[in-house]
Symmetry: C2
Subunit: 405 residues, 2 copies
């Protein structure tokens, strides 16, 4: 019998009516002869509400306690969905992350999955039940409740799909798939029927918000085919699968953009071994997630280093960098939160070296200045002014002919 893991995000179960709609879809899937394991997020904005409540109660929020608090949201949505299924005559049983035996390390707020035992889920499936698992949560080796960080429910779903050897993991959300660009900016953007794990990783890493990076990595490493689709239209969405070498690859698959980052520049950095390491170790020690790093060739024994960080980490990054300036003998440190990143992603770029030239020409023709450039084998990113990024996305989408027509 086929088995799918279906994951429903917060917007998919935002109220009683939505929960019933989801139950109806699960019941239909079962009637088609497919076993289902459901993973569910907290309803709507529950998690945000809990974070606000914690802020009202105390400025000191031990991560262990915050994890206990935040996991309560899925403890509501999971039994509600199990009840809705029972109301449709489908035998269901809800499970916490702990009951589903999602064992993690002890890193609260951002725990890594160590093992998924899933014996209770297998037993429930064998009894003809639909297991409904609370997403985003696990239990640590210390028997404490943990959370899996951003996109955690996706990670839960992929991990369960891997552990149960499911045929697919369906990620239901409020968009109908992965697009060639953000449809709010490029109305003619095309829904991609199929992307490779590698492309999806670069799309996620460069601003595509549909799937969290970590769950895509997990799916790739465990060979779990993902199907990203809408719980509002229920139509087929985007499959994220292993790259198929026999297929002709599009040079560029998607244009992505990211306005969540800021830029830090350290000028006059002595061009000596170990300086960069010192800076980025200090940032890592403060849990700053550095994205793009650019360092130019040294001209006069010193160089400028620029890097991007999440806007929320800008202040701490500036503090870290400024504290190091006397020690490393650098010049000054500047922050800039007016930047954005525009990227092209496509597996075919590997064999088409001309893409970068075209990208720079398109931006230059609109007088959009490029402040930083970074590349991977299948991605090309430019940092530009934030107020020009939407225009850049539209121009690149058009230049690489990514629309349907």
């Amino acid at each position: 019998m086929a088995l799918v893991v279906q994951k429903y995000g917060g917007t998919s179960v935002s109220d009683a009516e939505r929960v019933r709609a989801v139950a109806d879809h699960v019941a239909r899937t079962r009637r088609r002869g497919t076993d289902v394991v459901v993973v569910v997020s907290a309803m709507g904005k529950t998690t945000d509400d809990l974070i606000r409540l914690a802020g009202d109660v105390s400025a000191v929020q031990p991560p262990r306690e915050l994890d206990m608090l935040l996991t309560s949201g899925e403890r509501v949505s999971a039994p509600l969905l199990a009840m809705a299924l029972a109301g449709l005559g489908v035998d269901a049983a809800s499970f916490t992350g702990s009951q589903a035996q999602i064992i993690t390390d002890t890193t609260h707020l951002n725990a890594k999955i160590v093992e998924v035992r899933a014996d209770r889920l297998r037993a429930a499936l064998a009894e003809g039940k639909v297991p409904v698992v609370a997403g985003f949560q696990g239990v640590s080796l210390d028997r404490d409740v943990t959370t899996l960080g951003r996109g955690g429910s996706d990670t839960t779903a992929v991990a369960l799909a891997a552990a149960l050897d499911a045929d697919a993991c369906e990620i239901y959300t409020d968009v109908s798939g992965v697009f060639s660009a953000d449809p709010r900016i490029v109305p003619e953007a095309r829904r991609l029927a199929r992307v490779s794990f590698e492309e999806m990783l670069d799309i996620a890493a460069s601003g595509g918000r549909v799937l969290a990076l970590r769950s895509v990595e997990f799916a790739r490493n465990h060979h779990v085919p993902l199907h990203v689709r809408s719980s509002f239209t229920w139509e087929p969405g985007t499959w994220v699968v292993e790259e198929d070498p026999s297929m002709e690859q599009a040079v560029v698959t998607a244009v992505t953009h990211d306005i969540s980052e800021a830029k830090v520049t350290v000028t006059g950095v002595p061009d000596k071994p170990g300086i960069a390491a010192q800076l980025f170790r200090a940032l890592a020690d403060r849990d700053v997630n550095v994205d793009t790093i650019v360092q130019n060739t040294s001209l006069h024994g010193t160089t400028d280093i620029s890097f991007t960080v999440p806007k929320t980490d800008l202040d701490v990054s500036l503090d870290v960098a400024r504290a190091l300036v006397p020690e490393i003998g650098a010049g000054e440190v500047m922050g800039d939160d007016g930047i954005a990143k525009v990227s092209l992603v496509g597996a075919g770029m590997r064999s088409h070296p001309g893409v970068s030239a075209t990208m720079f020409e398109v931006l230059a023709s609109a007088a959009i200045n490029i402040e930083m450039i970074s590349t991977s084998s299948i991605r090309l990113s430019c940092v530009v002014r934030a107020d020009r990024v939407e225009e850049a996305v539209r121009l690149l989408h058009q230049a690489f002919e990514l629309s349907d027509g």
Copy 2:
């Protein structure tokens, strides 16, 4: 080192400010050199909100799923209180019922505690932490989440106090103790400094809403002194303790009343062995909680049986009784939801047989008709018209001189 278990009800932790006030009181208790284990209910009306949400989602509500849902409320209040304590510099750790090792049977919605292991709580205390335990919940022998029924958080607190051999169990609520009558009806009612477990059991059973019957029974059986007090005034309240035979006992300690019940009368019941058993077995099979039962002496080979049931069970009780009428050859079945019960409770009644006469005289002098009478060794209850019960409470409180003055 002294150890107290402090239980805070829903009104005591209804919002962020109240949670901080409770944390402050716990911190003060610790500063006085007393170890504290906290048991906390869900915030304010959370549980009612969850029940309504479940109703919106599905008419079918499997008890296992309802238990999972309802326990989420304490999963919010417990870590919030632990955070508030951390904010005051008090090291605290929240525990679910499962983590606190409160092991129950598998009766969902009304589980009985089988065992309290409490190893993790002992370890937390040994590390100088304040354990904050989610009340009302346990984990069954089948590893499912269970709830302990009405007054369940009180039961959690008493069970932990017994398991940890605490010096006392403090029940914080929104009233300042146990009173000689409901202060809303008798403004001059006196707060009782001390009542025996036996009196408290009869007070709880006859309408006193401060403590649930089950937690008092548990405390009596395990010799846990209870202290019922207010989390709004923080002043000393009522101690519920073992009866002290050396003390002079008040004849009457309190006047209680209960307007939550209705009366069922079955007329013309053949006076043969087994008839009553048949009726009350049928009611028990439908989970009807029968309270007072009165059967008069048979005069002409038949008798009338009257009994009281919770108003919410009146319809099902009438159905059960009417279905039995043809089989047992009885007359008719009548329901009456216009009744109320007024009771006198006092350990001294055992040695003062005149109390009943005084009670009947007081009611007669006000022309309050007595419809049913029932007695226990330390309680005397009369069923009267509901619209006369408050007057009856006032008159009896005055007649037995229960006020301070």
